[in-house]
């Protein structure tokens, strides 16, 4: 049931608020007559069938607002991959710092409530150095601290800009 509760998070919030409880109840009922493997095969097939429709219905009724959070997470992953690549192929630290500020600022604007989380995006730079670069441990710690600080500045500036604009 814990796994199913996690899978339910893929549904749009409006749908989840109305039907999360009865859906869990239905899976509990099904689990009494189906073996676990068959139960989860049924659940996964149902998930692939019903998820697009649930999101389309939510978009029709509420607009695209509920897609903002998953979109921001996807954007942060893409930003991390992009930053790591630039870090490994460029020696210009000014460009990297500028990119981190721009990316974290955008993330802060998109989702101001999780500004602290977007700051961690900048940690992909020491991570890239650790995995593929040649920096020593001391350099890495210094770089990680510096990048987190830059990321924090960017994301909180973005979050503040968004809140300020909203007002």
């Amino acid at each position: 049931m814990k796994l199913y509760r996690l899978l339910l998070r893929l549904y749009p919030p409006g749908f989840r608020a109305d039907y999360s409880e009865p859906m869990q109840q239905l899976v509990r009922d099904q689990s009494r007559r189906l073996p676990p493997l068959q139960l989860y095969a049924t659940i996964l097939a149902d998930l692939f069938r019903s998820l697009p429709q649930a999101h389309l219905d939510e978009i029709r009724n509420q607009g695209m607002k509920h897609l903002l959070t998953p979109f921001t997470y996807l954007f942060s992953l893409a930003a991390m991959a992009f930053l790591a690549r630039v870090e490994l192929h460029s020696d210009d630290s000014g460009v990297i710092v500028g990119l981190v500020l721009a990316m974290t600022f955008t993330l802060g604007c998109l989702h101001p409530k999780r500004a602290w989380l977007w700051a961690l995006t900048a940690l992909c730079i020491p991570a890239a150095e650790l995995l593929w670069g040649a920096a020593s441990n001391y350099d890495m710690m210094l770089l990680a601290g510096f990048m987190t600080f830059i990321g924090l500045c960017g994301s909180f500036a973005g979050a503040y800009a968004r809140v300020h604009l909203a007002q």
Binding site: Y11, F15, D18, Y19, P22, M23, Q25, L26, V27, D29, Q30, T42, I43, A45, D46, L47, R49, S50, L51, Q53, A54, D57, N61
Partner: protein
Amino acid sequence: MEPLTPAVFHVLLALATEEKHGYAIMHEVETETKGTVKMGPGTLYGTLKRLLDAGLIEEAGERRDPEMNDERRRYYRITAAGRAAARAEAQRLHAAVRIARARGVLA
């Protein structure tokens, strides 16, 4: 009136006789269609939500099912508009079957 999807039509048919909760609807649809229309929790509640939005069914409160365990369940009932939509779909299918018979497609 636009044709109904098989899932919507069978949910309306399942509710035609009495109020039912989600699991009872799912079970009845599976039994009546001999497993050809299968609905998981997402498909079932997605269909119920669309039917509620369209006014074809309505909620009939929460209570316990005496034949099942102790949990309270949300019941649904068909509305007059839902009955009319199911009737129109049944007539449409009946007409299609008549044509199929006349042309020797169906014995």
